[in-house]
């Protein structure tokens, strides 16, 4: 018990003194997840809009696949990315294993189906309202996609927040492809896991606080966006 209290005190100190290691690891976490999120949104939003405005034969099938991909266990994604980038793997020559790039790729794979699915759902509803009008105004397909994305931007931001939450707290995949290397690929979750197993609670707790406050900010932001959406504030 004493150990834990001591750890708490030290954690507090690490945070208020802006400990270099703590800051570096937190920033790396943010860098990895935000980049993964950026990649995901660039793929997910137009893809979701395209699925909404296009009638093609395997539409239902694609949507089902997407929803199934949402449930992919991160560890398995990690394993697949690992195999892909391991020295003897098909993309081994790129030398990306145990780099933040590999972690970004793994997280992007985990987040993309989630964001696509949430984005698809909200744009589907909007399309039901807009369809006749946009066809009548003689819009091109890219214009339809642009309009849907713009007019559902609040829902899309909420989708981003959900994706961020999923990415920042994820540990399985980035542990495998990143390797939790000090000063290179160590991020919040992997560091917490390591420090805990080492018994160094102070750093683990301090990192945990940072992670929790990030997660809380996300859910507050989500709540706030939900409110403005209903109020139609912007």
């Amino acid at each position: 018990m004493n150990e834990i209290l001591q750890g708490l005190a030290q954690a507090f100190w690490l945070i208020v003194s802006l400990d270099t290691e703590l800051i570096t690891i937190s920033l790396r976490s943010l860098y990895v997840t935000l980049t993964a999120l950026l990649v995901s949104t660039i793929i997910a939003f137009p893809l979701a809009a395209l699925i909404v405005v296009t009638r093609f034969r395997f539409r239902r099938f694609v949507i089902t696949i997407l929803n199934a991909l949402m449930g992919l266990p991160p560890v398995v994604v990690g394993l697949l990315v690992y195999i892909l980038f391991s020295r003897s793997g098909p993309l081994g020559v790129l030398g990306l294993l145990y780099t933040t790039s590999a972690m970004i790729i793994a997280q992007a794979i985990i987040i993309t189906p989630l964001i696509t699915s949430v984005a698809h759902q909200s744009m589907q509803g909007l399309w039901a309202d807009y369809r006749d009008l946009l066809i009548s105004i003689n819009t091109s397909k890219p214009q339809r996609i642009g309009t849907l994305m713009w007019d559902s931007r609040r829902a899309l931001i909420t989708a981003c927040l959900a994706g961020f939450g999923r990415g920042i707290g994820e540990v399985g995949a980035i542990m495998i492809v990143g390797g939790n290397i000090d000063n290179a690929t160590r991020v919040l979750t992997t560091a917490i896991s390591l420090e805990t197993s080492r018994g160094d609670f102070s750093l683990a707790l301090a990192l945990g606080f940072v992670l929790i406050s990030l997660a809380l900010s996300v859910s507050f932001a989500t709540h706030w966006f939900g409110k403005t959406e209903r109020g139609g504030l912007w």
Binding site: D132, L133, S136, N138, T139, T147, D151, G232
Partner: protein, 234 residues
């Protein structure tokens, strides 16, 4: 673009014929009014002419290729469709789709917003307008592109006397400025005020297409006679 030639058009849904066969020749001049009881097929006919419905049989032919003709048409839906944007942005939208510059689109939109008397609500979210205000916005948004052909599906159904007069004046002016208008209405008084010719639909069939006075003085059928007298048609 004119005349519009409709030959033996039928619309069947799930094996049931809901419209047709329709043969119709529409010339450039004037306002054509579409009359008929609820469910007689007015909306279906308008949407068919505009190209929103899949033809089961027959042809809808403009004197120019349908693709070009589509750019010269606007449609005001029976239940107005508002984009989830401000009133001004709703009015700007068709112009932006047609690659007008933003300043030009704003200028035109301001001009129209004054015509419909909503200049105090330009930044309001259009989905929060009253039903009548939405209809006015829908009419203005349809006319802002100076279409050669304007379809209106009961555009003044929920408007009070003054608002109705505003819209009717706008329509008369548009018709004078080379916009062909075809509109459906349940308002016989409106038909008397606006129509040059009248198309009468009954149970999916076009019972007559003739000049207004001819229709009013010698109704083409018992159903039409009762319709004019305001009787209920079985």
């Amino acid at each position: 673009m004119f005349p519009l030639e409709v030959s033996s058009v039928e619309i069947n849904i799930k094996g049931k014929r809901i419209l047709g066969p329709i043969n119709l020749l529409l010339k450039q001049e004037g306002i054509s009014v579409l009359l008929g009881a609820n469910g007689s097929g007015k909306t279906t006919l308008l949407e068919t002419l505009h190209g929103l419905r899949k033809l089961s049989k027959g042809k809808v032919r403009w004197s120019i290729p349908n693709k070009l003709a589509a750019k010269e048409q606007s449609f005001v839906f029976q239940t107005p469709v508002m984009l989830r944007r401000s009133v001004l942005e709703n009015l700007m939208y068709p112009l932006r789709v047609r690659r007008f510059s933003k300043p030009n689109a704003i200028k035109e939109a301001m001009h129209w917003v004054k015509k419909i008397g909503l200049e105090k609500k330009i930044i309001q979210q259009a989905t929060l307008l009253s039903g009548g205000e939405m209809q006015a916005v829908a009419v203005a948004r349809a006319l802002i592109t100076k279409p050669k052909m304007l379809f209106l599906d009961e555009p003044t159904a929920s408007l009070d006397g003054l608002a109705k007069k505003t819209i009717e004046d706008i329509l008369v002016l548009a018709a004078k400025n080379d916009t062909k208008i075809i509109m459906s209405t349940h308002d016989l008084g409106q038909a008397k005020r606006l129509a040059d010719d009248i198309i009468y639909l009954h149970k999916g069939l076009m019972e007559s297409h003739c000049l207004k006075d001819e229709f009013l003085n010698s109704p083409p059928s018992d159903a039409a006679k009762q319709f004019i007298a305001g009787d209920i048609i079985i």
